[in-house]
């Protein structure tokens, strides 16, 4: 497919230049250049490091989301899983449990939620969009119910330090993301699972007939997505010292935006982790810079929209269409 497409599109350009990734690198560098010209203080390392705390949670959830979208699925419930996990840990902390146990329980809840999504999807063959849309409402409702919408705060300092300290110049959340990224890269490139994920995305039926255990893989991916949401919830709690039923509301949109921006086809089968990382970087830098330089929150959505349209249009122009 690739060879054919590459022949039909701009044959003059070298093939490494016409990938979504190189386009995103180009965009990032252009943005950095503009940022440096407009407001040099923004590019200081300390500023960048502190501001990076705003993106790690989204980034962490974007990894399993990438794999899920590669299979042709989607998980809309991560924001709600985030709030349910956070509320679990918060309530257990209030009940006198030690914080590590509370976090462990939150991760178990997250994985259970993800597993439930996967079970419904594979057992009843319903499109993930519908299942996770339903569970998005259900999990949020559960979180609001058990917490009575009360804010839970007052976590021990040893825990909140995790959200605010840096280790070797990178916030702890950044290291957790780096570790997860390494694992995701290993899955995608070294493990045969990576090829299976692409195969499911290209043609699920064919993958099934080739003897791939599609259901088990999907179940695993959605569970992983739930786990990442729980970890994001723990990081959020450590950073903001609070757990509430409305945290993570709308976070799924940011995550999906970053994945799509990174050149992953929403229909599955095509996309890379490198692209998603670049997408995350570009969205984060744009958002932070707009409020840093202009101090106008209303410009933020506009900038994000323009950026997304730009990248989608460029990708389309470069001929990266959905394989038919």
């Amino acid at each position: 497919m690739d060879a054919f497409e590459e022949k039909t599109m701009k044959a003059r350009l070298p093939s490494w230049l016409v990938t979504p990734e190189s386009l995103l690198i180009g965009l990032s560098m252009a943005f950095w250049f503009i940022m440096g010209k407009l407001d040099h203080s923004f590019l200081q390392w300390e500023v960048q490091r502190e501001l990076s705390t705003h993106i790690w949670e989204t980034a962490l959830m974007a990894l399993p989301m990438t794999l899920i979208i590669l299979t042709g699925g989607i998980d809309l419930s991560i924001g709600s899983i985030m709030s349910l996990s956070a509320v679990t840990a918060g309530l257990l902390h209030q009940a006198g449990w030690p914080m590590p146990m509370g976090c462990l329980a939150a991760m178990v809840v997250g994985m259970a939620c993800g597993w439930l999504n996967g079970w419904f999807i594979t057992r009843f063959k319903v499109h993930p969009l519908m299942i996770t849309l339903a569970s998005m409402a259900a999990f949020r409702g559960m979180a609001e119910g058990v917490s009575q919408a009360r804010p839970l705060s007052g976590f021990p300092e040893s825990f909140t330090r995790m959200g605010n300290d840096a280790w070797l110049g990178l916030p702890i959340a950044g290291w957790i993301f780096a570790g997860s990224l390494a694992m995701a890269v290993w899955i995608m490139h070294a493990h045969r699972l990576g090829r299976c994920i692409h195969a499911i995305g290209y043609n699920e039926q064919a993958a099934r007939f080739s003897g791939l255990r599609v259901d088990r893989m999907l179940l695993g991916l959605y569970t992983l997505s739930g786990l990442s949401a729980a970890m994001a919830a723990i990081l959020f709690m450590a950073r903001r010292n609070t757990a509430k039923a409305d945290i993570g509301a709308g976070v799924e949109l940011g995550v999906i935006t970053a994945v799509v921006m990174g050149g992953v086809s929403i229909f599955g089968g095509r996309g890379t982790l490198a692209g998603v990382c670049l997408g995350l970087f570009l969205i984060h830098e744009t958002r932070e810079f707009v409020s840093w330089h202009w101090s106008r929150d209303e410009l933020n959505l506009l900038a994000l929209g323009v950026l997304l349209i730009l990248s989608v249009v460029f990708q389309q122009l470069l001929g990266h269409k959905r394989p038919s």
Binding site: D2, A3, S15, W16, V18, T19, E21, S22, I25, M29, W32, F33, M35, G36, K37, H40, S41, L43, E46, V47, E50, L51, T53, H54, A149, R150, P151, S153, T160, G163, N164, H189, H198, R239, R240, N241, T242, K244, I247, R270, G271, T272, A274, G275, E288, S291, W292, S295, R296, D297, E298, N300, L301
Partner: protein, 356 residues
């Protein structure tokens, strides 16, 4: 899937890194001219020792008329003081998480004063504490923060004065303390700190002074006018004898008034509460609303900037009980609350004098 691996090949990575480095260097280029301008500024400072103060004023939600009117007062104070640069920005969606991010950004930028009207005191508290550790003066305005996360709170009026004011106005509008009536409260969020304190004082006032008022419901409107409208409609159906609604946020009040008006109950069911006069003018003129309770929002913004500037210049010290607030005159300080003063009641007779 050839292209996704081709990007990772060493030669291409190297090429990409090289281009990135060149661009990064060129982005860092302007550091030399900016240094010279800095020294230029220093020279000026020697000639005219005029210190400029940057104040970041963060509302709960940007774009609400209430906060826009506060900002106009703040802008007036900044101009009057002359050496104040005012930044007014807040989350357009009212998200507390975004508010916290903004506080972190301003702290990194190195402003002198951050004044916050917190949407959710617990969520923004760590960011406010971090800003204080950096030596920035952090104050709360309009709504209080967690007490150790800010130095002063610029309080529009005591919660008691506002709550009693609303109940007293309602009783007056209904026709006096003898009238027996069911009333309901339409609030912003069930978790909103401001509103909850008012509700507490309103209950006290009703129980102690007006036992004839019966509070039948307290409903949230999620700071959404359509939802306030719907909630009020539902309440009128559930309690057909209901005589009064308190809309205790600038969004729930017009929503409640619109519901009463559309039900054809103008003048029979009283609506009162907190809102800016402009948003309620139409309802006051057609008789749905007799009185609107508020404080002078422009003066609140003005006072906030005055307090911020005084803190940055070191003229406002801990333990003082009065504060000279420019054209507003002397204001009381109770503990760490700088008080703006009494409530303001807008009626048919005076509402045209105010434009915000």
């Amino acid at each position: 899937m050839k292209h996704c691996f081709s990007l990772l090949s060493p030669r291409h990575l190297l090429r990409g890194c090289l281009i990135a480095w060149i661009l990064f260097l060129s982005a860092c280029g302007p550091s030399t001219p900016s240094e010279t301008t800095e020294t230029g500024a220093d020279n000026q400072a020697v000639v005219a020792p005029k210190e400029t103060i940057t104040i970041a004023l963060i509302p709960k939600k940007k774009g609400l008329p209430y906060f826009t009117s506060c900002a106009s007062g703040a802008e007036a104070a900044a101009q009057e003081l002359g050496n104040v640069t005012l930044i007014y920005d807040g989350p357009t969606d009212g998200s507390p998480e975004k508010q916290a991010s903004m506080i972190e950004q301003y702290a990194l930028k190195g402003v002198d004063v951050i004044a916050v009207s917190p949407n959710d005191p617990d969520v923004v508290a760590p960011a406010m504490r971090k800003a204080r550790e950096k030596g920035i003066h952090v104050i709360a305005w309009d709504a209080d923060a967690v007490t150790d996360a800010r130095s002063y709170f610029v309080n529009q009026s005591t919660a008691q004065a506002i709550a009693y004011g609303m109940v007293d106005t309602m009783v007056q509008d209904l026709g006096g303390p003898e009238i027996r009536a069911q009333v309901a409260i339409v609030t912003a969020y069930l978790t909103a700190a401001n509103q909850n304190i008012w509700i507490k004082h309103m209950k006290t006032r009703m129980a102690d002074t007006y036992p004839n008022l019966e509070l039948v419901a307290i409903k949230p409107s999620d700071e959404d006018q359509k939802m306030a409208f719907k909630v009020t409609q539902d309440l009128m159906k559930a309690y057909p004898d209901i005589k009064g609604f308190f809309g205790i946020s600038s969004v729930s009040f017009p929503g409640a008034a619109e519901a009463v008006k559309q039900a054809g109950q103008s003048g029979k069911v009283m609506v009162t509460g907190l809102a800016t006069p402009n948003s309620m003018k139409a309802y006051v003129k057609d008789g749905t609303v007799k009185s609107v309770v508020l404080w002078n929002t422009a003066e609140l913004g003005y006072l906030t900037v005055q307090v911020g500037a005084a803190l940055a210049q070191g003229t406002l010290k801990a333990g003082e009980t009065t504060f000279e607030a420019g054209k507003l005159g002397t204001k009381q300080i109770e503990g760490d609350h700088v008080l703006l003063g009494d409530i303001l009641v807008f009626t048919k007779d005076n509402i045209d004098q105010y434009d915000f």
